[in-house]
């Protein structure tokens, strides 16, 4: 009802060399975004970016980033994202660009989108596999994530709670 509203941007970091992706760091992403915003929108943009902007999540393996912007100015900040050409991390400059996949009002919607997106990507990977070994692994991965439609989410939850209580 009454809350601070934000927009969550689900972005993908695209790099030419996949192994460079592993060097990524949430601090580095943050710095890069801020710099880009400052470059494109000047002091006003930098100020906007300093309030409630945050990197919520980063997966260095897949290159998925959740960015949080205040809802009032997310369009302005978003418009600066294409100008990121490189991220400097650990003394290296990684040439990359951010591809925005989804814009959500809550993290939850982003997460839901990400699930769908990831499974889709895995399905796309499967026909492109070159060796049998790879194929096997990808299939396994697909299976592992499609099996999670478990109805017993709450059960697990309650069980884990019980354990906790026992520990206490």
């Amino acid at each position: 009802m009454v809350r601070l509203k934000s927009r969550y941007l689900l972005c993908e970091v695209n790099v030419s060399d996949r192994s460079q992706l592993l060097l990524l760091d949430d601090r580095a992403i943050m710095v890069a975004v801020k710099a880009a915003v400052a470059r494109t929108h000047g002091d006003y943009g930098a100020a906007m970016c300093s309030i409630r902007f945050c990197v919520k999540y980063l997966n260095a393996h897949t290159g998925i980033v959740f960015l949080r912007f205040p809802k009032s100015c997310y369009k302005l900040l978003w418009s600066a994202l294409p100008f990121i050409t490189s991220v400097e991390t650990r003394g290296q400059k990684i040439p990359c660009f951010l591809n925005c996949l989804h814009v959500g009002g809550t993290i939850r919607t982003c997460q839901k989108f990400l699930i769908r997106y990831n499974t889709q990507q895995l399905h796309r990977m499967l026909p492109k596999c070159k060796s049998e070994e790879e194929k096997r692994q990808v299939r396994k991965a697909i299976l592992s994530c499609s099996l999670t439609e478990s109805k017993e989410a709450f059960e697990e939850d309650s069980e884990s709670e019980e354990e906790e209580e026992e520990e206490e």
């Binding site: 997966n59 939850r108 692994q137």
Partner: protein, 982 residues
């Protein structure tokens, strides 16, 4: 964030995925690569990565290790969600797929699983929610019902857990059962002891916890005036059992020699006063530390000697002291008497059994006269159960703490009889009629005691002829009391020993007001009454068996319980008639002590005289109710303060600022008042700085005495030359001057009789009409020489004064007593009835500092503050510049210590207290109120002797003793007349 918040957040974020990244520090990476080199994989390139991703749920795995870092964590944190594994060299499709899958599952978990605080139905989409879902699980979709049921049961269990804890406490009925109730009561008085009348008081009074006791402060009903009327015309009853009694036993001369170190003849009669020593009167003395008169006083005590028994020099002395005084007095007594040898209470049975017996009695009610042997057995049995015995006396004291000390050298024994004796105080002119009405001299037991081994004390005494004649004499004197018109007619401090019947037997059916029956008694005999009024009680009649430990114990143990008494009453043939024969247990030795009323001053003399009733412990309520049924008013601590105020007597510990107990009291009071002050919002508080009140919550006596000493010393030469010299010199009392002086001696309260008499004569207006000028002739008239010689002895003294306001004004405590300027006195002479001068409002320069500090709390207050400009009047004085510099220095010194500034109060290093306002302060009021006996405001307080004499010297004889009084919350000075009453 607080720990609880962190915990909550952790719980909430438990299921949220954390960022997945490698640790950022390069050194870490290097080391990890080394590790990788050390442990080569199975030959596959992707092995390291594989290792890294072998955990399918990286985030969950990590959670277990470091739960604090899980979930969304605000801001960046080092090695945030990083794997501890090394960074792989290559990325393979399989590994990448696995990473994707892992992410999916992490996200799935985040999306699916609700936070722990939410119920099942909260996870449902809004359109599927139904009313009362949490109550009725059937409203949930079928697939969720099972889970919801389980959760609900769990919640119920959790609820029942809490209930179980509560259920541990028994039902109300069980709790209110007598034994359990007593246990509970005993538990509750572990910290603060209850008096025997506690429950009676607790139902009717505001109770306060003070001095280790629970005491009634004031009644819940309105009775201030009624209590005053009772004190002045009928009778007011108070329970003073909290006063501590210390018993000294030993040879008379040795006791006196030891005690003489504690007192001084200069301050009035000592322990050795002849009348008191004979045991016929109760005395009161001011006790000092051994040999330290007059610098280290302890406090006032009253004492009572046991009358001599024939041919014995062994004496017994009771010293009654206030509980706050006891902790200082007892060690002092021990050193004086050389009693360091603690006598441990004799083996347990003696101490424990009496109480056990006393309690076991009501349990086996059918036995009218239980044989001691069987009782003991029963009590043993009972002892196995919970010891539900009512604590009599000081039960909170550990058994092992010694209550008695013996001296090996001089044979003196000190016993601590705290809570062993109940003391009631009846105040008022009719208290003797209340006593006469309530008490009845014990009836002898006619039937010869059949069993010689009777455990009761009275039958044994009855068999002794001498004791019976003594008892008869005492009873006669007690009967003469009926004929007395007012309690004050008796010599003050008269003691009367007596043995009385159980007063419960003569309890009236309705509450009645005891009235004197003078006419009826006048017939008795006039001359005996005259003799009693003139000479008091003859010595043998002051003897009482309450002095005997054994008798006291016997009486306490054999008290008939209320229940038993009621049973006996119900068996009487004619309902409501008196029990006859009186049960043998109901004979109580008591001691009646007359309390003197107002002894000083000329008006209302002997106001508030009364009787003290001393009883053995355990009999408190048995006497209390019958007394209450005689129409007395009951007063609390509040009333005893008013009593002493009307008597113009200092009240311990409030009015003994030089005693350790008084100092403690002042500290407590300051803290209490400050607390109360701080509870108000700043805008609704009195700004005492603006009122020119330096210390509204305490009286810095030491500083006052010091300042006046300096004023007098430095201004000694000038006083003769100019009349206004004191006005000049006091300006010099800056803090600088004080710091120069030699290490100051402590202030004392003047208690030297001769000096007080001299002062009293000096401050009396000599030309006043009603005054008898007889004594002035004997004493030297006030002059500079006399004053200097007086001050050489008592420069650092304070003197207790009685202040009355002839016109308007109601003094409050901590009101200032100031010296009027000659102009004020002239104005008073011109137009009688005008109020008094006004104090110009002061400026609060601390206010701005507090404001500034609020604005930027980080910065310390800068010392650039404009000094408090002195009033224009002061500016033309010689030392104006001197003062200015001082004043400008003062705030600077304050600003350094301005850590705890309170708006409206001076911070701690106080400015000069004497010369802070336009009129010079000489003292403060410690008690003040509208006096109903005088019909105007009256106050009691202390003034500095030096200041007072300085004032008196400069006043004309017409205005001798006129001072100004100003309340801390007012700017208006009122004229007041001071009296020193001896």
């Amino acid at each position: 964030m607080s720990a609880a918040k962190v915990k909550m957040r952790e719980k909430k974020m438990r299921n949220q995925p954390a960022s997945v990244q490698y640790p950022s520090s390069s050194s870490n990476v290097e080391s990890s690569t080394q590790n990788g080199a050390d442990a080569p994989g199975t030959g596959k390139n992707a092995d390291p990565l594989k290792g890294g991703l072998s955990e399918v749920h990286p985030s969950t795995e990590r959670q277990k290790k470091t739960p604090h870092q899980s979930g969304w964590v605000r801001g960046h944190h080092k090695d945030g969600g990083g794997y501890t594994k090394e960074m792989p060299k290559y990325v393979t499709a399989g590994a990448f797929a696995r990473a994707r899958a892992a992410e999916v599952s992490a996200m799935l978990k985040a999306v699916r699983k609700t936070t722990s605080s939410s119920r099942v139905f909260e996870a449902l989409p809004k359109h599927m929610r139904r009313r009362a879902m949490s109550h009725n699980t059937k409203r949930l979709p079928h697939r969720l019902r099972e889970v919801a049921n389980r959760m609900r049961e769990k919640g119920l269990q959790a609820g029942s857990k809490k209930k179980k804890e509560q259920a541990k406490s028994k039902s109300r009925k069980a709790r209110r059962r007598h034994g359990n109730l007593l246990l509970e009561f005993n538990r509750r008085q572990r910290k603060n002891i209850w008096l025997e009348t506690h429950i009676w008081h607790a139902k009717r009074f505001h109770m306060v916890k003070k001095w280790g006791y629970c005491l009634g402060d004031r009644p819940t009903y309105k009775c201030y005036r009624a209590c005053y009327r009772a004190m002045s015309s009928h009778c007011l009853l108070q329970d003073l059992s909290y006063y501590c009694c210390i018993e000294l036993q030993g040879d008379e001369d040795k006791l006196l020699a030891a005690l003489s170190q504690l007192t001084s003849k200069e301050a009035g009669p000592t322990f050795a006063a002849a009348l008191c020593l004979s045991g016929r009167r109760q005395g009161s003395v001011m006790v000092y530390r051994a040999g330290r008169y007059p610098s280290q006083p302890l406090g006032p005590v009253t004492f009572l000697w046991r009358p001599r028994t024939q041919g014995s020099v062994h004496r017994q002395l009771w010293i009654w002291a206030h509980p706050t005084l006891k902790q200082d007095l007892l060690p002092e007594l021990q050193t004086v008497c050389q009693c360091c040898e603690a006598v441990l209470p004799p083996a347990a049975p003696v101490e424990v059994n009496p109480t056990l017996e006393a309690e076991s009695e009501p349990e086996n009610t059918p036995e009218a006269k239980p044989v001691p042997g069987t009782k003991r057995k029963r009590s043993r049995k009972d002892a196995t159960g919970p010891p539900a015995k009512k604590i009599l006396g000081d039960g909170t004291r550990l058994r092992s703490t010694p209550v008695s000390w013996r001296s090996s050298s001089n044979g003196i024994v000190i016993n601590d009889l705290t809570m062993e004796i109940v003391r009631y105080r009846l105040i008022g002119p009719q208290s003797h009629s209340v006593l006469v009405d309530t008490l009845e001299a014990a009836t002898g037991c006619d039937e010869v005691p059949k069993s010689q081994t009777c455990s009761l004390w009275w039958p044994q005494h009855c068999s002794d002829e001498a004791k019976m004649t003594l008892h008869q004499q005492q009873a006669d004197i007690f009967n003469i009391l009926k004929g007395i018109y007012s309690t004050a007619e008796l010599p003050s401090g008269t003691v009367l020993g007596l043995t009385v019947d159980d007063p419960r037997l003569t309890l009236p059916r309705k509450r009645v007001k005891a009235l004197p029956c003078v006419k009826q008694a006048q017939e008795v005999d006039e001359e005996k009454r005259q003799k009693l009024m003139l000479e008091g009680v003859p010595e043998p009649c002051c003897q009482s068996f309450i002095w005997e430990q054994s008798v006291r114990d016997n009486v306490t143990d054999n008290k008939i319980s209320e229940q038993e008494l009621n049973r006996m009453r119900s068996e009487v043939l004619v309902p409501g008639s008196r029990l006859s024969p009186t049960p043998l247990q109901g004979r109580v030795p008591i001691l009646l002590v007359e309390q003197p009323g107002k002894q000083v001053g000329h008006e209302m003399s002997s106001w508030g005289a009364g009787w003290d009733l001393l009883l053995p412990k355990g009999w408190g309520m048995a006497f209390w109710i019958p007394l209450v049924y005689r129409g007395v008013r009951i007063g609390g601590l509040n009333m005893s303060l008013k009593h002493s105020q009307n008597k113009a007597a200092p009240h311990f510990p409030r009015d003994y600022p030089d005693c350790p107990a008084g100092m403690r009291f002042q500290e407590e009071q300051e803290a209490e008042l400050l607390n109360k002050f701080k509870r108000h919002p700043p805008a609704k508080r009195t700004n005492y700085i603006k009122h020119g009140c330096v210390a509204p919550f305490r009286c810095p006596w030491q500083q006052l005495a010091e300042e006046w000493e300096i004023i007098v010393r430095e201004g000694g030469s000038q006083t003769r030359t100019t009349a206004q010299a004191d006005a000049v010199t006091e300006e010099r009392t800056s803090q600088q001057a004080i710091s120069i002086t030699k290490p100051p001696s402590r202030f004392t309260v003047l208690r030297n009789r001769k000096a007080l008499k001299l002062l009293s004569a000096w401050c009396r207006p000599t030309t006043s009409k009603g005054q008898r000028p007889c004594r002035v002739g004997e004493l030297p008239p006030i002059s500079c020489e006399a004053v200097t010689s007086f001050l050489s002895a008592h420069a650092m003294s304070l003197v207790w004064v009685h202040v009355s306001l002839p016109s308007k004004g109601k003094p409050e405590y901590h009101a200032m007593l100031c010296v009027p300027t000659p102009d004020d006195l002239k104005a008073l002479g011109n137009r009688q009835g005008t109020g008094g001068p006004q104090e110009p409002p002061h400026r609060d320069h601390f206010k701005s500092r507090i404001k500034r500090r609020k604005k930027d709390p980080k910065k310390t207050a800068t010392p650039s503050v404009t000094p408090d400009k002195p009033d224009g009047k002061k500016a033309d004085l010689i030392f104006a510049s001197d003062l200015d510099t001082n004043a400008s220095k003062d705030p600077k010194s304050f600003s350094e210590s301005s850590s705890d500034l309170v708006l409206g109060l001076w911070p701690d290093p106080l400015p000069s207290v004497a010369s802070h306002c336009s009129r010079v302060t000489v003292g403060w009021v410690t008690q003040g109120d509208f006096s109903m006996s005088a019909g105007c405001g009256e106050a009691l307080g202390f003034v500095s002797v030096a200041g007072l004499l300085n004032t008196l010297l400069n006043q004309t004889s017409e205005h001798k003793g006129k001072l100004l009084l100003r309340n801390p919350t007012s700017l208006h000075y009122r004229f007041a007349k001071i009296n020193i009453e001896v």
